[in-house]
């Protein structure tokens, strides 16, 4: 008998969430960075309301991206440092299940930070980010970025300079996706007609799906020695 794909994914993601609830080392680092980042931007843009309105989507995504990089690094380091990644590779489950399990965990951590940022930024920047479309954009953006982040963090976690290497490897690969996420958020918040920004949202979903399929296929090779 073999563990089903879903059971393996749930077990790996559940294990990550349970361990994180106890240690809070990933979430605390991400949340502290995100808080400091939005505060600094808030002070920098305080005097100029127009600039604040224009820049808010950029602030949201820059903050989320760098906070999530901290999370990806920590999450994969936890697997590598104690040799647990070997234990996962030894288990009779598909490599894709390991990837999706880690991805679900990483997504949950980044989404927690993203969902905490939206009300905080609403208060600090005086713009309503608690909107269904902003939430959907954040969900799609976090999902796509976590997909690339999980794959590349698995690769860089095996190196000594992983903290420095991950952003260098991740940002150029994720750039088209990030630009689309920023543009979609800006469209929603800027009050543009729905027909204009919906294209960006569809593009975001499309690119996310392509990245997901590619990363899942590539993980088979990355998980080998």
């Amino acid at each position: 008998m073999k563990t089903s794909f879903a059971a393996a994914v749930l077990a790996i993601a559940g294990k990550d969430l349970r361990a994180e609830l106890r240690s809070r080392e990933v979430l605390m680092a991400m949340a502290l960075f995100a808080l400091l980042s939005v505060l600094v931007f808030s002070f920098a843009l305080e005097l100029d309301r127009a600039a604040r309105g224009e820049a808010i989507s950029g602030v949201l995504w820059v903050t989320l991206i760098f906070a999530s990089i901290l999370g990806f690094n920590r999450s994969m380091a936890n697997e590598q440092d104690a040799g647990n990644f070997d234990a996962l590779r030894l288990a009779p489950i598909s490599r894709s299940a390991i990837f999706v399990g880690k991805l679900v965990g990483n997504c949950c951590f980044t989404l927690c930070v993203g969902l905490a940022l939206l009300p905080l930024m609403t208060v600090l920047y005086g713009l309503n980010l608690l909107d269904g479309w902003v939430l959907l954009t954040t969900l799609l953006g976090v999902g796509g970025f976590s997909t690339i982040g999980t794959l590349l963090a698995t690769m860089t976690a095996q190196t000594r300079a992983r903290e420095a290497l991950l952003p260098i490897a991740l940002l150029p690969v994720a750039l088209p996706f990030l630009l689309t996420a920023v543009r979609a958020t800006k469209g929603v918040l800027g009050g543009e007609p729905q027909s204009e920004w919906q294209v960006w949202l569809q593009l975001l979903a499309g690119i996310g799906l392509i990245y997901f399929v590619l990363c899942m296929l590539l993980f088979e090779f990355v998980a080998e020695e």
């Binding site: 008998m1 104690a82 070997d86």
Partner: protein
Amino acid sequence: MSGERPIIEVEALSKAYGLLPALRDVSFCVGRGECVRLLGANGSGKSTLLRALAGLSKPSSGRIRVGGWEMPKEAAQLRAQIGLVAHQPLLYENLSARENLHFFGVLYAINRAERERRSAELLRSVDLHKRAESLVRTFSRGMKQRLSLARAMLHQPDLLLLDEPYSGLDQKAGELLDELLLAARSQGQTIIMSTHQLERGAQFAERALILSRGRISFDGPGSASEISAAFRRAGDAPGL
């Protein structure tokens, strides 16, 4: 060895890390139910060989067949039949001992009731039943090693690969491990156990395989004095 096909067949196996050779032209077979001690000094290639047998490391050249499957290409077919105790404990520090065993039980498709039963039984065997709910990060090195052994035996593998299983264990825990391995052997499990301590495991593993700087320098049963002499010679062997 009996007439049936060996569980492990290694032919001309070599492995190098960059320019540094770790294993050189290693060939041997292990029969089903056999118990082999893999002896050698630090850096002789024992861990590299065990990782290759587990399918975690690709050989630079040569062939490994485990249970008839080519490793690591066909490793997926027999992962459920391998249990590994590695240098690192392969345990999650922020999960309890019981949670660790349950997590791996799910990955190895052991149903809930059986998982509960085997976890409780193994925790008792390795004398950790009183600390079942404690987080692994609060465990000593020896306790982690014992839990690691329980994790490796949880799915009742046909082949147990143990890399220095006695390291970090005190006298009592070492005796517990001896009992566990004797029981595993009586159930027909094949055991390959690496150690750099000559006296370890001698009571249940009659065959010794001595690695010296990546090459097999002795393979076979022998008296304690023969193995000891071969081990000393291996330790004195000139460098590559």
